[in-house]
Symmetry: C2
Subunit: 202 residues, 2 copies
Amino acid sequence: MARSTARAAAAKREQILEAAILRFGRQSYEDTSLRAIAADVGIDVAHVHRSFGSKELLFADAVRATTRPERFLGGPPGLLAARLSAEILVRQAMHDNGEVGPLDILMRSLSSREASRILHDSTLADFIEPISKMTYPSSARRASMIAAVLLGIGVLRDILRIEPLLDTEDGEIQQLTIQLLKVLIGDRPHDVAAGAAEGDNR
Amino acid sequence: MARSTARAAAAKREQILEAAILRFGRQSYEDTSLRAIAADVGIDVAHVHRSFGSKELLFADAVRATTRPERFLGGPPGLLAARLSAEILVRQAMHDNGEVGPLDILMRSLSSREASRILHDSTLADFIEPISKMTYPSSARRASMIAAVLLGIGVLRDILRIEPLLDTEDGEIQQLTIQLLKVLIGDRPHDVAAGAAEGDNR
DNA sequence: GATTTAGCGCAACGCGTGTTGACTAATTTT
DNA sequence: AAAATTAGTCAACACGCGTTGCGCTAAATC
């Protein structure tokens, strides 16, 4: 065998991306080899490489595919803290289902030199920038601090596997996280429950 | 030349460790090669390797040498938040002086598979455990969350170089950080200023 | 149906890594 | 002063990596 139909080829490209996402969601950029991804799909390394141009481009595509800001951007701003903390803490469940969340890839490849430029850009554009508009006062700094809190918790839990953070059955961690986020999000002056009425440009 | 005196050899071992600390404080475990460290000291790779047994052991020694919990453990508990936030934010200055702080190595090699076991143990023993005793209520979870906040800020600033966090001239970031830490440290019931009087076993 | 195109595998290149064995020369030890 | 130990080098090994040239074959295109 040597060639498949055009549509089948596109589907295979998708399979490669899927396999890459799973790998990058579990291991660092360096620990993930194109050969392993190829083996997952059952094809040759060369094909993986050529389908995306380079390892770095494949990684960038994987990051792009798992970044879905809508997840936490929708809904009333009053519940932003709750939604963000859920995003971090629910991931355990996703992980077991083989899903890869937006923060997974970021966390695993933080300290990779080649990956960090891509991660920088994605973090800034897809998280900090949109979140900026949801703090009061609107502030890229507060948004960055929010990212810091979420990332820090994620890293300690999922990368370093610090035991005290692993058990989330009771809601203590979630409760603390929400408290922290609320400090950073700040209070809108007239934000009781109707919330999203004033000066909100979404 | 081929051999030096016993004391000179011990000094050279110290030089190797020093060079390793500088490297590990700037680059990830993977990006730091024994050859580079050897070149810094002006000796052969083999000698670096044999002096410490393996790259992993050298790394462990570097972590141990830069971990000095006394830095933030001393002093009245009421000022803990301020001291911890300073530890994170002052690092810019240290960095320029060629010093390597306790968090630098941790941050840089977070996502390295080989390094993570060492980092896990060090974080737990040298940070979370002692900090646990300084929260109210005393809690490993709160201590872990403190570590998460500090690490998150450090990572976003120094690894991802997220711009909004780079400028710390005005005190906003520090102020926000202190607010967050205070939430996690909690309030001792009768802690006004005399502070360290009651039930404190230090 | 002939010709061009493109999916895909095979094999190899070049590079950088941690690690090891052999060897040398100088310092300790006896 | 002889013998044993050891700091240190040189060269090489084995491995894994991303990447690339080449060729084959089936699908597109005409």
